[in-house]
Symmetry: C2
Subunit: 342 residues, 2 copies
Amino acid sequence: MTISTIAIDAMGGDHGPSVVVPAALSILRERDDLHLILVGDEVTLRQQLTSSNGKENDKLSIRHASQKVEMDEAPASALRGKKDSSMRVAINLVKEGQAQACVSAGNTGALMATARFVLKTIPGIDRPAISAMLPTMKTQKVRMLDLGANVDSTVEHLFQFAVMGSVLTSAVDNIPNPKIGLLNIGTEDIKGNEQVKKAAQLLAELPAINYVGYVEGDDIFRGAVDVVVCDGFVGNVALKVTEGAIKLVGHYMKEAFNRNWLTKLSALSAMHVLKRLGKRADPARYNGASLVGLQGIVIKSHGSANILAYANAINEAALEIKKNIPQRIRDRVAEILQQRPV
Amino acid sequence: MTISTIAIDAMGGDHGPSVVVPAALSILRERDDLHLILVGDEVTLRQQLTSSNGKENDKLSIRHASQKVEMDEAPASALRGKKDSSMRVAINLVKEGQAQACVSAGNTGALMATARFVLKTIPGIDRPAISAMLPTMKTQKVRMLDLGANVDSTVEHLFQFAVMGSVLTSAVDNIPNPKIGLLNIGTEDIKGNEQVKKAAQLLAELPAINYVGYVEGDDIFRGAVDVVVCDGFVGNVALKVTEGAIKLVGHYMKEAFNRNWLTKLSALSAMHVLKRLGKRADPARYNGASLVGLQGIVIKSHGSANILAYANAINEAALEIKKNIPQRIRDRVAEILQQRPV
């Protein structure tokens, strides 16, 4: 069996080691094909490991890093001033080939800037993008990018996101010719901003991309396309609105079922259904966003991820290692860009 | 009793007169302080009126218009080529003072362009914005703008949306000093694009605006602010993602309750709760977006609105007439802009 090594920024995220360490331990109980390197303050990590009933062994090691990137720190400050941060060291391990992927729940901007600086982008890709899966009404989820790495994306960036999304979806999700939609505020040609309109033209001209047209915000969940491409500002808002709206309905549901003894009785009788429903709509199931376009695998966990959610992010990293994602994107991007009309 | 007159673009929307006419009749059964003018093809409207068991009287009149703006028509084409469209004639009635407001479920871009051309914007406001209410976890809803009138909003536009949102919320929703949030992809100062960052600075300097800072996509539904300000591309995506995510949970709920006879039994017992819940999360309840910043009241209904939803849009128009919204925005904008640091 091939063992994959994953470097984990154990200090990152809202909860730091108290979530990351138990998540790592839970993954190692589930699967034996991983070696996890917990990167961060050695003393803190050893303490957390003890209190979580875990210990270092051939599957779990600690790598000391003396600094930590704060959640509200400017990316440039993290990049210049925190060369021994847990985040930076975890990414360095990927660069040096000591790990095949890294996972962080830390400051997104700093993670993006550091990963881009250390690992560099794939030839033909100007900027990495954040990509994650969203739920749909069908069995198949939908991949969306960019989810916040880039604001003010140009035509060229949107085009590159589409290419990366297409390659990622065929490689990770085993969909041979994924349908690509561009997020817009209407489906008619006249709608949208210039960047989106021009990106649509560019994508329509490229036979290697199965571009199917514009999608609107509510189409994301219909499952009509496999990949939704958008600017990072728009995508981040869409992602968080999705989480918020799902929570809102959950809140209404709680209120409706808690109104009086009769409604509480109904809740009891419907409990098994409500639990199943809650599970299906739980954003933790979708945790683990890929930073695509880099020469190396970097997975971003939600900052507020719980143990289950963080474990999902580690599994996502393992999957991308197994599928050899950066190399596949690299090869396919080169092929596609050759076909591109000049 | 003062009678308010509302001009209705009876040909607009996905369903046209078959929804608009019954909605008008249902409103007139509910309240007697309105005079509705149905604008559109006379023959069609008379037929629809008959089949809906209604007739012309002192509260309901028909105004013939020979043309109709198509849902996918370019705004410029509607503006130049459809001078006798039901949409244009309805807006003209407001301009000429024959009606105090108009309602349309037609092509948003054409409605915006025509309304702006015919009615003009309020002094100090460059572009009208689309504003509507979204549900929150609290009793109070949240007002959001722009929802799709303007893409690539500048700092100045975002600033003006905030001013209009503030005035509209204190006037319509009776909130004296509404809390204004700027939609961003993080709450830290370093987050976001240049427009949002600069608009934040501008708003923070203005004592007349109760600017409270950045909000993220999921904060919209927390009810922590009264007004969420954003670019129209972003706002439209957020609005439609909200609708889509609520429908998604509804879909999951249906699937979960339909799984087997046991879950179906639970659904029966929980039916009264589910109905209440469905009502609360129904977007029809939030139909009727204001085109704010114009010298006249224009209400945009969702294109696919049903009778109930369209009736809500008519009620919204009546409310804005009663509250004398355009005049109040005009006065207050002048006041606020005087305070503005140069």
